[in-house]
Amino acid sequence: MEDLIKIPILSFYDLAGVATPMMLGILALAGLVLDSWIGKKKPSWIGGFSLAGMILILAFQLLLHIGRANLSGDLGAGFGGLIFFDLFGIYFNYLFLAAAILVTAMSISHLEGKDYNRGEYYLLILIATAGMSLMAGARDLIMVFIGLETMSIPIYALAASDQSNPKSNEAGLKYLLLGGFASAILLYGIALLYGAAGATDFLTLSNELARLKMPDLRFFFMIVGIALVVIGFGFKVAAVPFHMWVPDVYEGAPTPITAYMAAGVKAAGFAVLIRAFLYAFAGEWLQTYQIIWILAALTMTVGNLLALVQNNLKRMLAYSSIAHAGYLLVGMTTLVSSNTTQEAFSPTYAMMYYLLVYSFMNLGAFAVIVVLGRERRGGEMIADYSDLSRKRPFLAVLMAVFMFSLAGVPPLGGFFGKFYLFLGAVHSRLYWLVLIAVLNSVIAAFYYLRVVYVMYMQKEREEVIQPGIETGVLINTVLILSAAMVVLLGLVPNQFLDIIFMTFRKFV
């Protein structure tokens, strides 16, 4: 560590660690310049520009990965130990970039002909993605906080971007207030940790945690600090009881942004939680994993029960995203309850895999909503889907795939995601938690099946279909890519697992 700090000029690791967020930032700035030229007339071009840029960044990321893949899991740290350059971060960068690309493509389709179609919209997505990438790579709580704010502030604005829709304004404001509140709690937690440990980087924190014992007041402050950090991220990943903002924000925000919140923000939140508990907060005291146990059980149960009674699909998916946060917290509980770092890798992998699957099934489901919205069939209410199997058979099949995957029916990705999480939890003897989780997935099956039966088994209502826009190539690509990923993650998960298993290979 010491020698890294003394190096005055930027090293390879400094640049490599922040390469992705940096390029995203540059892309956003270039986009801003472009926006002032053509943004007023052709806002979708800005979307196309950022889409192309992100695909290039993804390709670069791939090169960076392939070039380094045969090294080891932990490739190094940069910026005086502020940021990791490792495969874990790279993995999440893939996830964020893929989600951002699909969301941008979805947005170009969604915003076509709408009055809030502006260049900034796409650029804000870029900046938020840069923030996520920083979060996943952070090696210091200050870095975590910077990443978190870089991600959150654009998302607040994006949630409110549909100015003509009062619900969107409400969503933005609510998200801003509660998100700001959560940030404050997080910051307070970081301050306490700094006060107790004298530093905010993960290594020092874990050393101090290992050194200090209970009667020491500093230890007490550290525990309180950790609790506050967890609460702060509880907001971001939508864990009960910090979930109140989720349904309104998900419902009000433009559909692609909702998809982005479900896929990207949640993954970023969990990336930080995983990282923090693997590196910083690891230690003996973690025998008290019961708090997260309770959090997990509450989150999935409340999420699923409230999802049962929703008639609005976006609200239903909001509650389902709460429930899925609960399943992921089962993985978190497993991680926290494991005795050694070795043991903690298995739930880590499980969560990484689950987040990948979850992102694609959600992106797909929201893309279906976008398609129906474009065609002026509505799409937000579950009733809008009645008899979709006759009107749009292929779209209905895709939606059914996403719903069955969300419900965890094999052989789709959603099943293996749950399988992996529960495998780890059973290994850690969290039988009751797994029991609660699987019974929850039965409750969940009920409301996902509801969408399916409305599509396949309910007769068409009387409705007047206004002429809408035909589906475009972009949105169809999004749909097909998401569906293909959901199916592939189920049928041949090994290809993806191989990448995941590499992330901590150095330690194994």
Partner: protein, 530 residues
């Protein structure tokens, strides 16, 4: 050819999937082509399974035609399939009924024909895969995969309350299967494998603690008991049966319910012998209650289809009784009874479906005297009803007789009483079926609209005859089929008995001072085995 024979099981499982993809490329208006393709695929699948049957060595208790491929090495999950005497007959039943259900819905299904056949083919793959899987996760995947097409079959082509029935079916089964999943995961950490054979060997050489056995057996048993369905978990069955289209009911009764009994025979009983010893009395008590309860409820049904549905509860009670009596005789009987129930009840549902297709009603009181207008139909119905009752010379008798004899001589506590009570189920079956037959077919032809009912056409006669052939064949010469399964059943029984002896010895040591607290039924003996 020999290469195909090596991979024959995979072909049998996935030929319907190939058919599914063929259908995807057919235009939805070409209804006839869609039907012909599905029929040919099912016939091909049956032909493959017959070829496999002829090459099957009945004298060996081991799995045959094993094929093992890496599927997900990261989780130690393999694609592994194999067949033994237990799954052989069930696979044959499934492939035999494939063409039959396609033929039966030839004219009945007019709406969304393409989707209908796609789901039927997918269902076929799911069922065959579940019977043939030798990897626990693969089994689970197929087991859950079956739910999806069945859910659509009931929900889209079913009766008025189809959505309720479809969801109830899905959720009930899912509750059971997720519990089973936990048990599978637990077993994985105990045995370090998802491989059926390895788990089985590991469990027979390492005595699993009784507490764990009880929990794990409980988890498996709930999953299977819901599927069978055993009393009191049977409430989804009448709904699903009544609302399902004819083909759905036939597959549901003939094959899907067998998944439950197959699961007991394949997993729950051989894996956890001590738990079986402890809970056996509970299970055969529930089985006897199911036999009598199902029969009594059948008796008072007004709807013919519901009557047949409840008779399933009764008939499957026999199977459970046979399985938990744990003698070779009774288990052989249970296995053959699974096939019999598939044939007889499947045929009954087909016949009810034929009647409903013509008259659009199913209430017993709507009919009467229709033997006069539908003589061929009545003859078929009578033979099938008699086979379901258990008339000697037809298949039902063989299964029930073996089960009752096997149970009677098993020497388990109260087994003689159980056999005697179960025997009344045979009498009650005669009551409800013959009484129904009398009210529907005999007497004066009162209703005007029934006079124009048409008798069976050639297509219907063909597929009913196929089933009838096997009904008589099993009735007259059951050994053709029994000999293929005998070795495997023997192995299961000896495995369970051997392990239990070990466990009993251990328990007696531990409880030497607490003799009078020995759990009831803990002391099974093997006197009736031979």
């Amino acid at each position: 050819m020999s290469l195909i024979l090596k991979q024959i099981l995979s072909w049998i499982i996935f030929v319907p999937v190939i058919g599914m993809f063929l259908l995807l490329f057919l235009e939805r208006e070409k209804v006839r082509a869609i039907r012909v393709v599905s029929l040919l695929i099912m016939v091909l699948d049956f032909a493959l399974s017959v070829w496999m049957y002829l090459n099957f060595d009945g004298s060996s208790p081991d799995f045959q035609f094993i094929q093992r491929l890496n599927w997900i090495p990261g989780w130690n999950i393999h694609y592994q399939v194999g067949i033994d005497g237990i799954s052989l007959l069930l696979v044959m039943l499934t492939t035999l009924l494939g063409p039959v259900v396609i033929l039966s819905s030839w004219a009945a299904v007019k709406d969304r024909v393409k989707e209908y056949y796609i789901f039927l083919l997918l269902l076929q793959t799911g069922m065959l895969g579940a019977f043939l899987s030798l990897d626990m996760i693969l089994f689970y995947v197929f087991w859950e995969l079956m739910l999806v097409p069945m859910y659509f079959l009931i929900g889209i082509w079913g009766g008025p309350r189809r959505i309720y029935a479809a969801i109830k079916f899905f959720l009930f089964t899912m509750v059971g299967s997720v519990l089973m999943l936990i048990a599978i995961l637990w077993l994985y950490f105990y045995t370090a494998s998802f491989d059926y054979v390895m788990i089985s060997n590991f469990l027979s050489s390492n005595q699993l603690k009784e507490v764990f056995q009880l929990y794990l057996f409980g988890a498996f048993a709930i999953a299977f008991a819901i599927k069978v369905p055993m009393f009191p978990l049977h409430t989804w069955l009448p709904d699903a049966h009544v609302e399902a289209p004819t083909a759905g009911s036939v597959i549901l009764a003939a094959v899907l319910l067998k998944m439950g009994t197959y699961g007991f025979l394949r997993f729950a009983i051989p894996f956890f012998p001590n738990a079986v010893a402890q809970l056996g009395p509970l299970f055969y008590t529930l089985a006897v209650i199911g036999i009598i309860y199902g029969a009594l409820v059948s008796m008072v049904q007004e709807d013919i289809k519901k009557l047949v549905a409840y008779s399933s509860v009764s008939h499957l009670g026999f199977v459970i009784l046979g399985l938990f009596a744990l003698t070779v005789t009774s288990m052989q009987g249970a296995l053959i009874q699974m096939i019999n129930h598939g044939l007889s009840t499947g045929a009954l549902f087909l016949l009810v479906g034929i009647l409903y297709e013509r008259a659009h009603k199913r209430q017993i009181s709507d009919f009467g005297g229709i033997a006069k207008v539908m003589p061929v139909y009545s003859a078929f119905f009578l033979i099938v009803a008699l086979s379901s009752i258990g008339l000697p010379g037809l298949n039902g008798f063989v299964g029930e007789f073996l089960i009752l004899v096997g149970t009677y001589i098993s020497g388990n506590p109260y087994s003689k009483l159980a056999a005697a009570l179960a025997g009344t189920g045979v009498i009650l079956a005669a009551v409800y079926l013959l009484w129904m037959y009398q009210r529907v077919f005999f007497g004066p032809l009162r209703k005007e609209e029934n006079k124009s009912l048409k008798d069976l056409n050639a297509r219907e006669i063909i597929y009913l005859t196929i089933i009838l052939v096997f009904i008589v064949w099993i009735g007259v010469h059951p050994n053709t089929f029994l000999q293929k399964s005998e070795a495997s059943i023997n192995q299961v029984v000896s495995q369970v008995a051997g392990k239990r002896k070990l466990a009993d010895a251990g328990r007696k040591d531990r409880l030497a001072g607490l003799k009078n607290r020995l759990p009831a039924g803990g002391d099974f003996s093997e006197q009736g085995d031979r």
